[in-house]
């Protein structure tokens, strides 16, 4: 698949994109919106490299609706020097963007199956574009379920969408937090507890999971304990990426280049590598 964008000269050359809008999602997490004039197609799960001249470049998964072709959004947590610098930008500021890169969520594998989307923390951002696409193709799937684990009620991402999705009759949304507060009336516990209680047909289900690697590891165990086959469980992996096209090796995990061969992998493919300490 050619993941290069129309208009890009080279896979390594960023295009200039002005910020057309910015939302603060949480105290440390923001979404930058870009106008794309229909020239930027991507599939859910893919990422871009976003850069600020003189500061640096980071890989960020695309969080916007893939079927809205004039706008692209990136949800970013300000956790390092580049992401914090990007967070200081605002309307009209220009950043460099190249991509999209990487493998998308294999949504077609879930046709006529129960589709489980499982997110932890900021992992909901790359899954939001998948949820938009899954809802656009809703009749392709049987039960559609989102299980979302967050640190605490104050850290829930995309609250407006969570309310919208929860209000639909064709989608189940279950949310849990690790730490509650007296006003929180929802679930408290690890996201794996939601897997234990979820209603799905183990033999006819596909799960797409994104969150901290250790969380995905235990979600994988919970899903396989319920009887799901590792071929039907997909993780979005994260490592320090640099070139985005499988040349530099920064994101190499065993024989896999996460930027080119991933970031989306089946559990059966990635599990042996996840078990290697310090890899």
């Amino acid at each position: 698949m050619d993941t290069l964008n129309a208009g890009s000269v080279s896979a390594m050359l960023p295009s200039a994109f002005p910020i057309v809008d910015k939302d603060w999602e949480l105290a440390d997490t923001y979404t930058l919106h870009f106008a794309t004039d229909g020239a930027f197609d991507f599939d859910p799960g893919q990422m871009v490299m976003i850069s600020q001249p003189g500061v640096g470049e980071v890989p960020i998964s695309i969080s916007s609706n893939p079927d809205v072709h004039d706008r692209m959004s990136l949800t970013i947590r300000g956790s390092g020097s580049v992401t914090r610098a990007l967070g200081r930008l605002d309307y009209g500021d220009v950043v460099g963007i190249r991509g999209p890169y990487g493998t998308p969520w294999p949504l077609d594998t879930a046709i006529d199956q129960d589709l489980m989307i499982i997110a932890g923390g900021i992992g909901l951002a790359p899954l939001r574009s998948l949820i938009y696409r899954a809802l656009a193709r809703r009749s392709d799937f049987r039960n559609l379920t989102l299980l979302y684990g967050s640190r605490d009620p104050q850290s829930l991402l995309f609250e407006r969408e969570l309310h919208e999705w929860r209000g639909r009759f064709d989608m189940e949304v279950e949310i849990t937090v690790d730490r509650s507060s007296p006003e929180w009336m929802g679930e408290v516990g690890l996201v794996t507890s939601l897997v234990d209680r979820a209603r799905f047909s183990e033999a006819d289900a596909v799960a797409m999971v994104c969150g901290p690697e250790i969380m995905m590891h235990f979600v994988g165990i919970a899903l396989t304990d319920k009887g799901m086959h590792p071929d039907n469980i997909f993780f979005s992996m994260e490592r320090n990426m640099k070139c985005g096209i499988g040349l530099c090796g920064h994101c190499q995990l065993g024989a896999e280049f996460l930027c080119k061969d991933g970031p989306v992998f089946s559990l059966s493919r990635i599990e042996p590598l996840m078990k290697v300490e310090e890899l």
């Binding site: 603060w24 105290a27 440390d28 947590r77 300000g78 956790s79 390092g80 020097s81 914090r84 610098a85 967070g87 200081r88 932890g120 923390g121 900021i122 684990g149 967050s150 640190r151 850290s155 849990t176 690790d178 730490r179 509650s180 507060s181 007296p182 929180w184 009336m185 929802g186 679930e187 408290v188 516990g189 690890l190 794996t192 507890s193 234990d196 209680r197 969150g211 901290p212 250790i214 969380m215 235990f218």
Partner: protein, 164 residues
């Protein structure tokens, strides 16, 4: 109320009792009773003697501790979950209170008589204890992961100021 026969089938279909021998399920069913609680009711009270456990069949329960910040929920339980582990371990008093967040349907097991009967059959006793140990280990494991604060990013080492 369920008859012991239908209760055996109902228990056998749950994850927690899955694969249990028929005679053990029958023993459990003899000490079980279907129960209902309204939303808001305290099903277990911290510090009170623990002499039973519940298998939740419908609804949601909060395990909570009263603190100076109010009642803090440490875990919620729902359909298919077992509520009540303290009956197995001395001093056999509830370590947390359990409040019904919604109307609750459950099966209550009276454990004093159940343990006494199970002690007559080593295989049943060992299987029952082993299932509860497995559940305790799973909850301990989850608690450890929750304490790791997995969703927090690594501490930023830079010196630049954040903007919010």
């Amino acid at each position: 109320m369920s008859t012991p026969g239908s209760l055996v089938d109902q228990l056998a279909a749950t994850d927690f009792f899955s694969g249990m021998a028929e005679n053990e399920l029958e023993l459990l069913a003899r000490h079980a009773q279907a129960t209902e609680h309204d939303a808001g009711v305290l099903i277990l009270q911290r510090g009170r003697p623990a002499s039973g456990f519940y298998l939740i069949t419908e609804g949601r329960v909060a395990l909570q501790l009263q603190t100076s910040r109010g009642a803090l929920v440490v875990q919620t339980l729902g359909r298919g979950d077992v509520l009540g582990l303290s009956w197995l371990i001395a001093p056999r008093v509830w370590q947390f209170s359990a409040k019904a967040l919604t109307p609750i349907s459950s099966i209550h097991f009276e454990t004093d008589a159940l343990l006494e009967a199970a002690e007559q059959d080593v295989a049943i006793h060992d299987d029952l204890v082993s299932r509860f140990l497995g559940l305790m280990a799973k909850r301990l494991h989850s608690t450890r992961l929750q304490l790791l604060d997995l969703y927090q990013p690594a501490v930023y080492q830079g010196t630049d100021e954040w903007i919010r």
